[in-house]
């Protein structure tokens, strides 16, 4: 009941990725724009995310509230996400209503109003969102680590932006950012679900085909210099709990090293779920760091985070400390485990197990229609859909020697920032 993905490019440059899946009467529509915090500079950090908020404020054809009512009346879900490299909008609807998503997305690709009164209302909402984040020690720590890990690249800043910029960004700044990046050549439309490809494509051409393609806005940024030497950042804040984030400069998603680092991460902190929606992850209790740190009562949790990005970003190990342990003890224990990877041969069996886990997680990721629509577009934001389809194959080619080589290259102290959250009440 599932067809192969169809990848088409319209004359105006809009890429369209379609996958028929007739397992449920649902259609999941996503439009992706190649714009995120990567496209920002000091003074306008957070602007991509703010534009995303403004896209819910309506157009002349679909004024604010009407849009919302149209989707909600049919029981649909809709939302948007802004990331470092992209911004995406999605609607999950009963399948016979697919035209609603298409019309709405084509309309707000060009016709959003950005009324000054709405911009000012949203300013306080976004500052409130940031303050909610600031309540979380992990956010404060991650922001400081990101800042220290990059000297010039926009990945230096959190997607939500720095507070000063959120006070000063103007309506004109927002509107210009919108007009520059929201155009067919900079977008991918990905749809999965219960539809007929031929007739859906006709509708897409009718609805999106007349939108002018716009100027190319592909951004090539100068490479960020290597971290060079280990940096430490210390944050203090309320609470009794200490947190540690160890962030290594990582390869971009298109770099073949990315897959070997994915396998290494799986050994160290457990396999990553490919499911943005629904269930389908596994736990990490048998991973090397969990056994050494959590079972060793050095931390109470450990997670790894490797993001697929256009430019080299970070591979982070995030740890919540056991109340009786110091950050120095934890860092030493992590280094001991990395040393074990470097000094003792990794067995083929261990690698094979990681691949088997990835294969199961990949199968889980195909259970849900929205997850499939997500990957149809998401993979295009940093590589191509082939990247996702061949994900397990790429992992299968990773050898123990390659994992060792990757550990030697990336998990070097000189390639990392160590962030420590020290509680004032601890």
């Amino acid at each position: 009941m599932t067809h192969a993905a169809q990848l088409i490019t319209l004359d105006n440059g809009l890429k369209v990725h379609l996958k028929e899946i007739h397992t449920a009467p649902i259609i999941s529509t996503w439009i992706w724009y190649r714009v995120g915090s990567r496209n920002e500079s000091p003074g306008i950090t957070g602007i991509s995310h703010w534009v995303e908020h403004m896209q819910f404020k309506g157009t002349q054809d679909y004024p604010a509230g009407i849009l919302d009512r149209e989707i909600s009346r049919v029981g649909g879900d809709w939302n948007a996400l802004t990331h470092m490299d992209w911004t995406t909008y999605f609607e999950i609807l009963p399948s016979h209503l697919y035209n609603l998503s298409l019309k709405l997305e084509a309309d707000r690709m060009v016709n959003s109003q950005f009324l000054p009164v709405e911009v000012e209302r949203e300013r306080t909402v976004i500052i409130s969102e940031r303050e909610g984040n600031e309540n979380q020690p992990r956010f404060l720590l991650a922001e400081a680590v990101q800042n220290a890990a990059f000297s010039q690249h926009p990945y230096k800043y959190e997607v939500i932006g720095v507070k000063e910029d959120l006070y000063s960004i103007s309506r004109e700044d927002l509107y210009q950012h919108y007009r520059r990046y929201y155009q067919p050549t900079n977008a991918v439309l990905s749809i999965a679900g219960d539809f007929n490809t031929h007739s859906l494509l006709q509708n897409i051409k009718e609805i999106f085909g007349d939108i002018p393609s716009g100027d190319s806005v592909r951004l090539i940024l100068p490479p960020e210099p290597a971290i060079g030497h280990e940096k430490q950042v210390h944050i203090t804040g309320p609470g009794e709990t200490s947190y540690l984030q160890i962030a290594y400069r990582a390869p971009s998603a298109q770099n073949p090293d990315f897959f070997a680092l994915t396998v290494l991460d799986s050994l160290l902190t457990g396999p990553s779920s490919l499911n943005m929606f629904g269930s389908g992850g596994t736990s990490n209790k048998t991973s090397r760091l969990y056994r050494a740190l959590v079972e060793g009562e050095i931390t109470v949790s450990c997670q790894g985070a490797l993001h697929a990005t256009i430019d080299p970003y970070l591979y982070s190990i995030n740890l919540t400390l056991h109340p009786d342990r110091t950050p120095e003890e934890v860092l030493f224990a992590v280094d001991q485990e990395i040393k074990r990877v470097l000094d003792s041969p990794i067995s083929k069996t261990e690698i094979d197990r990681a691949i088997k886990q990835a294969r199961a997680l990949f199968a889980f990721s195909s259970e849900n229609i929205s997850n499939q629509a997500f990957w149809l577009g998401y993979s295009e934001m940093f590589a191509s859909y082939d990247w996702f389809e061949n994900y397990v194959n790429h992992l299968s080619n990773v050898t123990p020697e390659r994992v060792l080589q990757i550990a030697q290259t990336y998990l070097e102290p000189d390639n990392r920032v160590v962030g420590i959250y020290i509680p004032e009440g601890g």
């Binding site: 609470g239 709990t241 736990s283 209790k285 199961a360 004032e424």
Partner: protein
């Protein structure tokens, strides 16, 4: 007013119903629900046993929570690592959790691994050994989680709200307990709690995915068929509680934070109340529909005060709660409470409009197909049906249950519970 809903009518037979869902009861009291779906080679298993923090001694709140987590720390057949090695090696998941009334479990695996996952589920549920070393580690993890909770403005506002609205009732306590009550729990408390509460009577599980119902039933019979526990305690009758006599507000200062969380509301009825569907529609209009209903429009869209604001019903067995939540800058707390209170006054002063009612009915009927999207969604629905004894034909009857609600039903039901003069208000923040 009848809302025509083509998608619902066309696909109603794809929703769980007596023709596509099998319900089997084992002699020992276990109910199994199965719904085959061969579209992907995966399975979702969900289930529960009756019994949760309601059974915790007052001085050891958190015991049910720790016992549920302890199930996977070791069994008669596996130590911690061996158990997780089996699960993680196949990319599967198995989890237990505990709430006030239930201990729940959830698993996800490839269909070829059904036997293995059911054998591990049975091993954890039937033969936990609660090793001392693992207990101490889990207790420390839980104490750290409680220290983190103490800094979480949202969690603390919720906790305060429950203390106000359920004052004097067992529901006033959080399932995870408090630091001092968790510190008082000893390893031997776990097997004792386990022996009193865990057993097959009234246990339910749903298996949804790529397996034939008979095969699933045979496997469940094999791993659970001979489980008995004569000392298993049944759920007690849950007492009701009087609503607040006066408006009651509690504020908790958490220094160093940037945003305050507000929880406001009142009691709500039991799941079996005739007001259930009217309140569900009413809540949708008040603080759920679209960008969070009337509250979202007033507090977020017009006043620009909060990143999030909305309302929800927490309805199960015994008294429930109708909660309005918002996250705001500390300077805007009073203004936000005043705006929300004003919306509540408005809501209980006039019936909702025909348009609002129509929109809300359409929302509930329209979103039914969306719950077909994954095996775990379907499994969760089946468990809900079983738990509240709704009948396998519930989704066939559902359109009628929604359609027959009138503006007056919502008005009367809302006024029975939501009194702007006697709201519980909890705030946690800097």
């Amino acid at each position: 007013m009848i809302i025509k809903n083509t998608i619902f009518d066309d696909h109603i037979h794809a929703l769980p119903n007596p023709e596509n869902t099998t319900r089997v009861q084992l002699p020992n009291g276990i109910t199994l629900l199965t719904r085959p779906n061969f579209n992907s080679p995966t399975l979702s298993i969900k289930g529960y046993l009756n019994g949760g923090s309601l059974f915790d001694p007052e001085d050891k709140l958190g015991l049910s929570y720790l016992t549920a987590f302890g199930l996977m720390t070791g069994t008669a057949n596996h130590d911690f690592q061996s158990l997780y090695n089996q699960i993680e090696s196949i990319g599967a998941s198995l989890r237990f959790s505990s709430s006030t009334l239930r201990t729940s479990f959830s698993a996800h695996c490839l269909s070829e691994d059904l036997d293995l996952i059911l054998s591990l589920l049975a091993d954890c549920l039937r033969s936990p050994s609660f090793p001392e070393k693992e207990f101490n580690r889990q207790k420390n993890q839980m104490l750290t989680a409680l220290a983190i909770r103490a800094q979480d403005t949202g969690a603390m506002a919720n906790l305060l709200f429950d203390q106000i609205v359920y004052c004097g009732h067992p529901y006033q306590h959080p399932e995870e307990g408090y630091t001092e009550t968790v510190q008082a729990i000893q390893r031997d408390d776990l097997p004792d709690f386990y022996q009193r509460i865990y057993g097959p009577k009234d246990m339910a599980l749903a298996i949804v995915g790529a397996v034939e119902p008979q095969l699933a039933a045979d496997a469940v019979q094999q791993y659970f068929g001979d489980w008995e526990n004569p000392s298993q305690n049944p759920l007690p009758i849950i007492e009701g509680i009087e609503p607040l006599a006066n408006p009651t507000e509690k504020r908790l200062n958490i220094p160093g934070k940037y945003q305050a969380d507000i929880v406001m509301g009142c009691l709500a009825p039991d799941r079996h109340s005739p007001d259930f569907h009217a309140l569900r529609l009413g809540n949708n209009i008040l603080g759920e529909f679209g960008m969070m209903g009337r509250l979202g429009q007033r507090v977020r869209e017009v006043a620009g005060l909060a990143y999030y604001v909305g309302s929800s019903l927490s309805i199960s067995l015994g008294p429930g709660a109708w909660e309005i939540i918002a996250g705001v800058n500390p300077e805007n707390i009073d203004q936000t409470i005043a705006l929300i209170t004003d919306e509540v006054v408005n809501f209980v002063s006039h019936p909702v409009t025909e348009q609002e009612l129509s929109d809300s009915k359409s929302f509930f009927l329209g979103r039914m197909p969306l719950m077909l999207d994954s095996n775990s969604d379907v499994a969760a629905s089946l468990i809900n049906i079983e738990r509240f004894n709704l009948g396998l034909d519930y989704f066939l009857r559902y359109p009628q249950l929604v359609q027959e609600i009138t503006r007056e039903d919502i008005f009367e039901a809302s006024r029975r519970y939501l009194d702007p003069e006697r709201l519980a208000i909890a705030v946690a923040g800097p």
